[in-house]
Symmetry: D2
Subunit: 381 residues, 4 copies
């Protein structure tokens, strides 16, 4: 990963730039014309002659100056009438706002070089599980906050066991998912099926209604947490989250049955709940979901910023973002919506989870073998 | 399409069957154990010795007996404590509930015959646009209610013109979509781009923020309808819906920017709003969206029921359901969630819309030519 | 797997049937009009009042009666002028030919039952690696002949190691592939790259030409076998095949560079070479190739026939056929061309190989643990 | 399309460069170590102090100096022992060979600009049929040589009529395809089916054998041309090629039934036959085939070179290359094998053909309307 250096703000280009201009929002949830539309990249804003970085970076938001002088990136709908909103289109600093777009570009191909395999996302690329496993183990060691975003395919069969293992062993900072993930997970715990299929993929008599029966039982006891406490749900991903205190956000959608009690059915409240975790994220793993992956990508900065005592700017590193799907399309779509840092893995979610776990176990064993066993204790402990 | 005949309820099998059993719901939004889980197929319930069909058929719901003796299929969350809910698992009538699963099976292949091209959904199948065009024209003639469900790909470039044409010419009973469809449509009207691309697919400077600017302007005037009235939105799909009085439901999701004012952000309220149209649907066209297609499929009966004066049972015909996507997966997924009647078209949404319109125009011309010009007047007139 | 019983040829239906009719082929490589077109299913032909099974069953061939009274299924191009060819269209025995199409149908869903997950091939189905591993281990124990058919994706990175392991440990009866598989495998051995990518998927300077340089070196020494002997190729799949005496067929295509010396560039000679292995196959594993999978499917019977001493008919069981691809399309296409017995696994080839090997190792360990260690010795030993 | 200018060979960089070095090939079909591996981009070689362009440019070939001083790009297998072959790895001219890799780069995005929709190949991009239609019509007007490369999906149903129309109206310089395309086309002419499906996609009794019966009849008369003459084949693509004298190359593969008489079953002879057309190509349209598209891409230069009287170098323009497939994967794969100039259209082949024809007809009508009717006469006339 290339190391990152902040721009040299002492240089002529930045020193000569004017302050950014701010205009009051005309109404609640409405931005002034010509508002600056943010990106997920490191961004610097000149206020009172000084370049500063706004908080809670994300794309497609507004730059708002708080009364205490703090700068925020805020979603349009959360901006109140009268709040000062930055305006301008220039991203090169010439109007007081600089987007450091080339911050994380690695060694780029020479000008016009003829190359094979130039497509970024392809089932033909080798998948470097060892590297991903190392990232995850390092995150756990340094107390990072890996956010997992999962679609229903993660719950089928073996993948459910593997995801449960990651929760139990301290590799999950938070789990973001929809109603269906929790439903299938709980259907598996109660009935041993997902969408009416058994774990070999065979059908079961009356299987089509089992997910609704599972939802009904949880609604009857009042919450997933209570269903775990009362022994209705005995294993699986949600069980592990409850038992190990791993926070989860379940968001509702128009295709939900039920839904389960904890599900947040208001899409905007759901975004707010998700964002409480994305602002803390130090890594993101997006598996088998276009909707949730893009939703998370929309609110996720492309970088992690960590305060450095005595320094004006935080230390910056790219936010490792892994996106897994059976089709190239979903990963490319995520990138096309601006989450350029996403690394695509084109495979079946079940297999991804199984091999990733295998490599994490190997990494842990290798570290234990060199006498650093103390570092690999489960974070959930 | 095979003709449909109701079962012969005078036969021994049905005459000897017991009445269905009903048990009160234990709490608001909770069903009794062993509740009967409905399907989208023609269903008959024996009450007081008489076989009857419940109203508002859909899958994954409960059978509820209203105080006035009417039978309904109701979503779990809408059932109130104490309401009588049918119980039982048998779908063969032996416990008073009969699901006519083979109602619409056409001529099935002979037992074990060796065949090529047995996969139902494949890009290799011919697409019968002439047949689909005829269905649409006939729907318009008989005053049917075709429900269109659209994903954002429908708005890119030419497809937007074609969808607008269908709205303007009376082929759309209602439009169900998400925030993004309306956003891209309005971005195209105001800025001439979608997701920052121009209509040739090229990028534009600052293009990444244009969809947010479009949302902002509509929020500033208060609604899409007002944006049309005030001339902010001058053309396109939403414009046509407003001008021609075609109802639309825009539902929110966690990936939405904005959202636009009319968007229903509560997922359950959104389902209720969609269902107001699906219960009236006489045809369904689902284009380029997995989420909305499956959501609609969940609440859509597999059949149209039309009352016949003097008859106890309505006339039943299969509900033509067309699902268009670039990948076989989405169509298969829709079927795997129970929408077996869906006919899959594997192609690009832009091209589908263009050719479908072409064939509809040809069908209209052919009908006009044989002296039935009066029938092909635009419904919007 | 359902057990198989031959039809009861003593029954009226078969006893009353006439002998099949044969007509001489009009010219070399040309069949008589109304020739019977074969399938890959168990087929019985009545000759001289006796029902018999032809040899080398495959689809799309002709039924030819040899001078010695033996029946063969022969490709059109291999039929010589004057050879007696069966005619007729009936597959139900009424004209002396019976195709047992329902031979392997398992327990079929009840008539018209409403079901979820009815699509046969889907990334949403659980993958039963334990079952596939057991099949492979049993094949090795009983001295079976598993034919592997591989596309180039199998050679990228880790998958190459895993495929090599299967060859080395006696799980491969024969390997059928194209020039590209061998080229990439040898490029990896000589240069450490595939298509110019290193094993982490990164590019290399001048990488685009490395596969051609690899080909050139093998052409210089004269053959792959010599390249192994002389130490030019030191590891990998082709190396393992040469060292362990596992036969391979490399077939040419219009997209080949080189080709490598062993490649059979005549498509018909190549089909003949492949068929020498498919007629012996007791299992087929088709990974990451549409062309080779369908080519093999075309010539592969749907069943294994093993002679039973003292019995007129062989014992028949379904030929386990596993088809792996990232997309549902390829597997469905294979089935649509008549290889209905194929079991589809929708995943990345690299991951498939890795997990399959893992499960095979577990199966071997489990068997070793129960005291049958002798059975799990490498077949190549 | 950006205009092209040859490098300034008078500049210091090129003037100071040494001549390219040539080494004799050590054996027939074997290149010397360190041979220069060609690309499909404009390439200049310094011989006797003068920069020159080799003939028959293609990727993955060798640079061979003929006795008459002419430079050729030749496939390894076609190089004879003793022929002088250029060596070296540098593509920047420093060793006497210059690959003009940035020749056709259009206006590139600014350094590190944040953009949406940066993926090149996506079903979400608008398809500019008007532009493609204009290119085709201009090719016909200037007497260009558009090479069409087609897979079997092109023959299903309506696409067959549209492809036939393009052949009949002079838009096809040559057709490159496999046995299957011709087989399905002829099956459609004789039996009205493709792969046993009728034009609505329904099955037919005994349909699985019809393609073999079609092949057999053509083999009986001896050739496709004779089948057309004798009235066995009355319409369709092959019929149009024969009647209008449009050359076709049918290449064999391991999955072929038959094959048809004209099919070239030797893969190397087939490559040579294809190359006779690719060296003349002024446009390439690759529809619904991975194998044939990549095979053609391998031998296709990225540019068209047209001699200019009195000029040392030809006029160069990019070779318009359109690749159509339902999946992003095939187009990306083509690019990953070096055919970077390919423009991807992600849609169903049937729909592509239909809309392209529609736009070509509109373009012709528009040109006729402005009084240039004479230019739009069918080239076949």
């Amino acid at each position: 990963m290339p190391t990152f250096a902040h721009p040299d703000f002492a240089s002529e280009r930045f020193a000569a730039a004017p302050d950014a201009r701010f205009v009051p929002a005309p109404a609640d949830g409405v931005l002034p014309e010509h508002f600056f539309s943010t990106t997920n990249l490191p961004t610097y804003v000149k206020v009172d002659g000084e370049w500063r970085m706004p908080r809670e970076p994300r794309m497609d938001a507004a730059l708002v100056l708080a009364p205490d002088g703090e700068l925020w990136m805020k979603e349009m709908r959360r901006v109140r009438a009268g709040e000062p909103v930055a305006i301008g289109y220039a991203e090169d600093g010439s109007e007081g706002i600089y987007v450091y777009a080339s911050a994380f570009l690695g060694d780029v191909a020479g000008e016009g070089e003829f190359k094979f395999m130039s497509t970024e996302v392809s089932r033909e690329r080798p998948i470097d599980y060892a590297h991903m496993a190392r990232l995850l183990v390092e995150e756990r060691e340094r107390g990072g906050y890996p956010v997992w975003v999962a679609g229903p395919a993660l719950v089928h069969s073996r993948a459910r066991n593997d995801m449960t293992w990651f929760v139990e062993h301290g590799f999950v900072g938070a789990l973001l998912a929809g109603n269906a993930v929790a439903v299938h997970d709980i259907e598996a715990s109660i009935f041993g099926t997902t969408l009416g299929m058994n774990s070999q993929g065979g059908g079961t008599v009356g299987g089509h209604g089992l997910h609704v029966r599972a939802i009904n039982r949880v609604r009857a006891v009042g919450s997933i947490a209570k269903a775990v406490e009362q022994g209705l749900v005995k294993d699986g991903i949600m069980h592990a989250c409850v038992v190990h205190g791993v926070p989860f956000v379940l968001t509702g959608s128009i295709r939900d049955d039920g839904p389960l009690p904890e599900v947040i059915v208001d899409a905007l409240a759901a975004q707010d709940a998700m964002k409480q975790h994305t602002v803390k994220a130090t890594m993101a793993i997006l598996v088998a979901t276009a909707l949730h992956a893009i939703a998370t990508g929309n609110m996720l900065p492309a970088f992690v910023a960590e305060p450095v005592p005595g320094e004006r700017f935080p230390a910056i590193r790219e936010l490792p973002t892994i996106c897994v799907d059976t089709s190239e399309f979903v990963v490319s779509k995520l990138k096309d919506r601006g989450t350029h840092q996403a690394f695509g893995v084109v495979t079946n979610a079940q297999d991804f989870m199984h091999i990733l776990r295998l490599y994490v176990e190997r990494e842990l064993n290798a570290r234990a073998a060199v006498g650093t066993a103390g570092q690999s204790a489960p974070a959930g402990a």
